[in-house]
């Protein structure tokens, strides 16, 4: 019986700690345990043998940290480690796992390790371990779902061995990066690993609390490898105190909750494992229940398609949105981020991301948009593109289990999309159209859906991961179109048993007051059981329909969500502007809502440029001066700047393009090695307010990238920000690189640890103590 068959019919036992045993054999604090594979192979084999004799089925080879980021001789280490473990095998049903632990570095954007660099590092380990003859790959002790994904991808791409994956929970039942159990399960099941679970960090007693949720959300065998209680340090060595008997007692309870693979982590010994095995050997484990939940996830949380319809925000799609088109052409990703966050704030459960414009490099912009949105939003994304390369690249770097928009019944579409969905573990929206177009009857659309589901299963994609969109055509050109769609929802749900989604707004095309038609159609669709809708989260009519439906359908306990929505809605519509307030005053005081209303009414009386010159600029000047005099402070300066931006937005459409010409271009970047860019972002807002065009290159930016960008766009003023003394050196390198290249530019630098003297020492032209100081310098250089 091979391992994967065995795991389906009975308990499988992992071994316990390697480090703890090595301490027993005299490893010194700070000495790498992997080095003992080569130094003391017979001791390593002896430890593995002891675990096998205790009843373990899987020996975890001593390769936890054997990757090129940590060890230069990782290959040699892996080969000897696998061999040491294999030598210990003496009976059937004994296997060796290639052990893969975290790289020790945090992945970008919160850390400084690039996703693909992580994949490459893991790939090296996987290749060596597979070649050395491991029976399975154990990816363990992961606390970041993104790093987990990198490791699983590396394993899938470089080996055919079964993949087992375990992660680390804290006492709140999340990973330290904030990922909950359901989200991690969605990611791992999507990627197609063979068994999942938890290890390390907590003892069996503390982990017990989280096992039921793990079992309830997964269809895979569950692994539980806890520590022997919590650690203590004696003479610089770490010890764990739980006795084998105590450990065994908890593990027996955990097995009773439905865990299938049991073993230990830090502090557990062959005696601990022996205790677990003797309590469970010969007993029949609980059956593994297959779940049919449709679920997608972000880095933090899962979105389950059940009960209430999932609201998918449609605003990040350039079709019919000139401002978004302009933002995409100018690579203004911040605009997309603002759209994303505003939709999240307005109740979207997921966000559709479509950046398709003929004149941009969709692949790179889509990847950038996905990364940047995921850095600030916890919502799962629906990746919307017909460009297969862009789809693959963005699914690869997506942090979580994505939803793909979309596949359809055309052979070509399914052939292109399904392999990618399968590889990267997504769910997919299936449109009921094929080579012959969109059928006019509901049964025909259901028939296409059935074919898509069938084809997907050939690629190993389960029905739960297909969400059918039966399409809705325009009622003004075909009076029966809406009822065909509604009928299709009913048939597809009842006969095929899959979830459904719909882009509603097409139904009202060509009609006035489209929101009314959309929202009533939405209510009808909800009554037919619609599971998800792509909508504009700012549409109150749609939201009214949604919250009222949930209350009426009995899926809003105590009508709580409805009441919350209705009361917020009522207070929102009240007018906020005080009668004697002026626009200048609102900007100076930083009152955004008032400024918006005042600008809206002023524009009826005055020309846009007059408003800018007579109200906005003087107000900003007043604020700037007060700030420089120390009468107001940075938060107030920024509040005024943001309020001025709100007023600008209102009059922007009325302004002709050349009415407010740029005062000049400046590059801003937080230098290489530095990932905190709040200071740079503050300077950016103030510079923009004063009319400068800011090219924001982001954070952790290499000197080469800054030079390349400056040259390509002929920009002569560069602002650099650094927070730490350790990253000021990157500033110096950047300035040096420019000087060596012969490209003349001025440098203004700022940041917590900088001083005028320091700035001069590294060759900067100007030390700016704050944002206003930067503005004054830019005015001096560029005006």
């Amino acid at each position: 019986m091979d391992l994967l068959t065995q795991i389906l019919s009975k308990y499988v036992f992992f071994d316990g700690a390697m480090g703890t045993e090595l301490q027993r054999y005299g490893i010194k604090p700070g000495e790498s345990s992997e080095s003992w594979n080569i130094k003391n192979p017979e001791i390593i084999t002896k430890i593995h043998r002891a675990y096998f004799e205790a009843g373990a089925n899987i020996a975890t080879a001593n390769t936890f940290g054997a990757n090129p980021l940590k060890l230069d001789n990782y290959e040699e280490v892996i080969f000897s480690a696998i061999e040491n473990a294999k030598r210990a095998i003496s009976a059937p049903e004994q296997y060796v796992a290639l052990d893969i632990g975290p790289t020790g570095k945090l992945l970008a954007p919160l850390g400084d390790l690039d996703f693909e660099d992580a994949v490459s590092a893991f790939a090296c380990t996987v290749k060596a371990g597979t070649e050395a003859g491991a029976d399975l790959i154990l990816i363990e002790t992961m606390s970041d779902p993104y790093e987990m994904k990198a490791a699983v991808l590396a394993a899938k791409e470089n080996s055919t061995l079964p993949i087992f994956a375990t992660f680390v929970l804290d006492e709140n039942g999340k990973t330290v990066t904030g990922c909950d159990i359901s989200a991690m399960v969605a990611l791992l099941e999507g990627l197609g690993v063979s068994a999942i679970g938890v290890n390390c960090s907590l003892g069996a007693e503390q982990l017990m609390e989280f096992i039921p949720e793990l079992v309830a959300s997964s269809s895979l065998p569950i692994i539980v490898n806890p520590n022997a209680g919590l650690p203590a340090i004696i003479n610089g060595k770490t010890f764990y105190k739980q006795t084998p008997a105590e450990f065994g007692e908890y593990m027996e309870k955990i097995a009773g909750m439905g865990a299938r693979c049991l073993g230990g982590c830090c502090g557990t010994t062959p005696e601990h494992i022996k205790e677990v095995v003797s309590r469970l050997k010969g007993k029949q484990p609980l059956a593994i229940e297959k779940k049919s939940r449709t679920v997608v996830s972000s880095y933090a949380k899962a979105c389950v398609f059940e009960n209430k319809a999932v609201l998918i925000g449609e605003r990040i799609n350039p079709t019919g949105k000139p401002k978004l088109k302009a933002a995409l052409r100018e690579n203004d990703i911040d605009y997309l981020i603002k759209e994303a966050l505003a939709q999240e704030e307005n109740g979207a459960n997921m966000l559709d991301v479509n950046v398709g414009l003929p004149e941009i490099d969709e692949k790179s912009v889509l990847c950038q948009a996905v990364k940047e949105i995921q850095a600030v939003s916890t919502l799962p994304l629906q990746i919307d593109t017909s460009n297969v390369d862009a789809l693959e690249a963005s699914l690869r770097i997506y942090n979580g289990k994505p939803l793909v928009n979309s596949v359809n019944g055309k052979e070509e579409s399914m052939r292109a999309v399904f392999p990618i969905v399968k590889k990267y573990g997504g769910a997919v929206i299936a449109l009921t159209l094929d080579e012959n177009g969109i059928p006019s009857t509901a049964p025909q659309r259901a028939e296409i859906a059935r074919r898509i589901i069938e084809k997907a299963s050939e690629y190993g994609i389960e029905k739960k991961d297909i969400i059918v969109d039966p399409l809705c055509l325009t009622v003004s050109s075909d009076k029966d179109a809406p009822s065909v769609t509604l009928e299709a929802i009913r048939i597809i749900k009842s006969e095929l048993g899959v979830k459904t989604s719909l882009g509603i707004s097409n139904v009202s095309f060509g009609l006035p007051a489209r929101d009314y038609v959309n929202s009533v159609f939405f209510s009808h669709a909800l009554l037919c059981g619609l599971d998800a809708v792509i909508l504009n989260p700012f549409s109150n009519e749609m939201k009214k329909a949604y919250f009222a439906h949930n209350a009426l359908a009995g899926i809003d306990e105590g009508c709580i969500s409805y009441i919350e929505y209705a009361s917020a809605f009522a207070s929102d519509s009240a007018s906020v502007a005080a009668s004697n307030q002026t626009l200048d005053g609102a900007i100076i005081k930083g009152l955004k809502k008032e400024a918006k209303e005042l600008a809206t009414s002023l524009i009826k009386e005055k020309k846009p440029l007059e408003i800018v010159n007579e109200h906005i600029i003087p107000a900003l000047d007043t604020v700037g001066k007060r700030y420089e005099e120390g009468k107001i402070f940075l938060p107030q300066l920024l509040m005024s700047a943001e309020t001025a931006t709100v007023a600008f937005e209102v009059i922007k459409e009325a302004l002709k393009a050349n009415d407010r010409s740029s005062k000049g271009d400046i590059i801003l970047a937080t230098v290489k090695g530095d990932i905190h860019d709040i200071g740079k972002n503050i300077v950016k807002v103030i510079l923009q307010n004063y009319g400068f065009t800011v090219h924001d290159l982001g954070k952790d930016v290499s000197p080469e990238k800054i030079l390349e960008y400056a040259k390509a766009n002929q920009i002569k003023l560069i602002g650099l920000s650094a927070l730490m003394t350790t990253t000021v050196s990157s500033m110096e390198k950047t300035i040096k690189l420019f000087k060596e290249s012969g490209y003349a530019a001025k440098f203004v630098v700022g940041g917590a640890v900088l001083t005028p003297e320091y700035a001069e020492m590294i060759g900067a032209d100007k030390y700016a103590k704050d944002a206003m100081d930067t503005v004054r310098y830019a005015q001096e250089i560029l005006n």
């Binding site: 919160l110 904030g178 919590l230 340090i233 981020i337 600030v376 005081k589 090695g673 530095d674 927070l723």
Partner: protein, 196 residues
Amino acid sequence: MSEISFINTNAIELKLNDKEICRYLNMRACDGALCELIDGCKKEVAGIASPKAVFAKVSVKALNEKLSLGFGDVCSKKLAKNLCGCGEAFVFCATLGQEVDRLINKYSKIEPSRAIVLDSVATAMIEEFCDYVNDILGENRSLRPRFSCGYGDFDIKHQAEILDFLDAKKRIGVYLLDSYMMTPFKTVTAIVGIAK
């Protein structure tokens, strides 16, 4: 024998001082709209921060300026002076968690005024949490002031040893970047001498 012990608390329990927050914002005091903003930010940070700390007791062996502190050897006159006469010390690492970083990053893109207030609130909170940890460590004993790497001549490179020693990555999610910056950003490590 010493244990790597764990402390956590609900962020709402940490009482923040408005004066401190204003000080981090370089302001003497605040008025109307700003006070409202600060209040809103306090609630928001308290809602997502997850204050956690790990600590261990180590013995202090001093030889001239070289100190042996359990996690490694440190050459620092200032730290030696701070720990002078202490036979033992606590080493701790306290953090507010990654969600605070994400929140500040988010607002620095869409509303920088809120971002800098959130940042100052979070700074006040991590300081308050360090005091909270200090109070627990200082029960029935007298402690020296906290001393962190990067202060004076206590080389910031020791950050790596301290975090490894406390297993801070695995236990409370604190990572060190190549630039010796810690993430989550609102994280403090410190040595606290136990006065005899």
